[in-house]
Symmetry: C2
Subunit: 324 residues, 2 copies
């Protein structure tokens, strides 16, 4: 396993997580092991377990319960990936064939359910009822976020508030749950717990903002997916929202027609992409992501200095340092 750099200080704990994960995937049903293992070992950075462990160790460096809670978060995340690939009809995930493409939608949906059940059981055993509830809220949020995103397809007038509601549920809620659960297991409550909840939420916003900016600039060779994918799917995201007010009547009309068409042409996609790039939509998005990263880092001020605090800051910085 290759360790993501900000997680060097919790390398041992992340190894322990992998061992624990192996036990949770042990089943006499072959496809659980095969499909679960395939997606679980497909090169994820273990961001969610890492955040959970660091958030706990920030307050209580020795709590062994962090390991199972952390890996359960990754199980929930992995289950969501399995189910989202069905939603997206995705054939690739992190550059490899997606689990649904290799094993079929049927196996992907069922192994996802298995992982949900194993993850939630782990929270029930090791996390206590508060962690369990927070994780279940995140599962519900993620399904609602994806559903709301589907409902908003082609809606060119999605508000900034609506956009943040979607990205909170689909991305930020689980990251927030990781940091909050870590803090709870680490033994804090009140203001410190809420700070960690918000830390996770803000880096979640930043992460999704940068991801949505990427979609406007990425090229197929380096990122593995073509730019303008969100436009193709009729998804209105922040880079567009940030510059929408600058459009004149004819631009607004054309853009509206493209977003609501089921199958825009390459030229149509390029038209919106270039309009948004030219008006500075990507810069505004990355700027806002940086603001969220800074707000997140400030929330760590009240915690005492430690290597764990430094690592959490590094992760926050890493989100906006991704090159594109």
């Amino acid at each position: 396993m290759k360790i993501f750099k900000p997680f060097e200080v919790i390398k041992d704990e992340l190894y322990a997580c992998e061992v624990f994960a192996g036990n949770l995937l042990r089943s006499d049903v072959k496809s659980v092991l095969e499909t679960g293992g395939y997606i679980f070992n497909s090169g994820g950075k273990r961001v969610r377990p890492g955040l959970t462990i660091l958030s706990g160790k920030l307050f209580s460096p020795d709590d062994k319960k962090l390991i199972p809670v952390a890996i359960a978060m990754e199980f929930i995340h992995t289950a969501t990936l399995l189910h989202d690939d069905i939603v997206d009809g995705a054939s690739l995930r992190r550059g490899n064939p997606s689990a649904n493409a290799v094993f079929g939608n049927d196996v992907a949906v069922l192994v996802g359910d298995y992982m949900f059940a194993q993850g939630v059981s782990t929270f029930a055993t090791y996390g206590g009822v508060e962690v369990l509830r927070r994780a279940l809220d995140a599962i519900r949020d993620m399904s609602e976020g994806e559903l709301k995103q589907l409902e908003m397809i082609g809606k060119v007038d999605l508000t900034e508030e609506g956009y943040f509601d979607i990205i909170y549920r689909k991305t930020a809620s689980l990251l927030s749950a990781c940091c909050e659960a870590g803090a709870i297991v680490g033994g804090v409550d009140g203001k410190q717990k809420i700070s960690m909840r918000d830390f996770g939420k803000f880096i979640g916003y930043a992460f999704q903002l940068v991801d949505d900016a990427f979609d406007y600039v990425s090229d197929e060779e380096t990122i593995g997916k073509p730019a303008g994918n969100d436009i193709r799917e009729g998804k209105v995201t922040y880079p567009f929202i940030a510059v929408r007010h600058t459009f004149n009547d004819s631009e607004r009309e054309k853009v509206g027609a493209i977003f609501s068409s089921q199958n825009p042409s390459k030229a149509d996609i390029s038209y919106i992409r270039e309009l948004v790039l030219e008006r500075g939509g990507v810069e505004k998005t990355v700027f806002l992501a940086r603001e969220y990263v800074n707000r997140a880092k400030e929330l760590l001020d009240s915690a005492k200095d430690s290597v764990y605090k430094e690592s959490l800051k590094q992760i926050a910085d890493f989100i906006v340092a991704r090159t594109y």
Copy 2:
């Protein structure tokens, strides 16, 4: 709502369940309400909530916690139906277009996840940790059961033990969980709790055995699906297993070739159906189902007499009284 006859004595409780369900489906995301409501209100008999409530009232007639625990069981069941229809590629469910056919696989998988999360949250709040664990085991069992069934497609030599393992996980485990959870909420443990767990398991076996017998005899007009569906899908079930030892070499060879072919002809399906019917596979299956119903009813002997006990016996009898 039309009340299933054995549930007349808990009519009020089942109405209360519907109200509770409405609250759990309340979301600002339109498709949760629409799709969740569509499948939830598509004419299910509320067998699982009914069993949960009756099993609880058998021991403690007044426990209000039974309502949320009962409806959470139905949420888990409904989530499973949503996901199973994706697995089966089903276009019909209880004679109506299935949710995935109406709303799409993407919405079906996500609304299923939403219902899992809401159901499990309800167990966490009202059921206590023992009920929660039992329900999570059932969720895991159901995904494993469906996966194992997929693995066994075309395997003509599926053993009786393998068959019972599959039907335990996919059908009997949740029914067993309902009866056991009811008993736990009703305040019993030890032998009485285990009796109710086994009561649920045995009626689960009986239910699935009868269902598998139906598949050999049903005709499209009365049941809404053609006979021999399991053979078509390469699923080996009890009616076949019960008479397999009577086949001569040429029958065995032909049957093996049909089960392992991806797309058997109508004549092939009829060949197996008629062979199994002629050798008495359906009668043997229904006979075994009756035995399980009788064993289930005997388990109720130690509980004191009540209308609830009578209703539980009626449900058990109803399973094998279904006409076909």
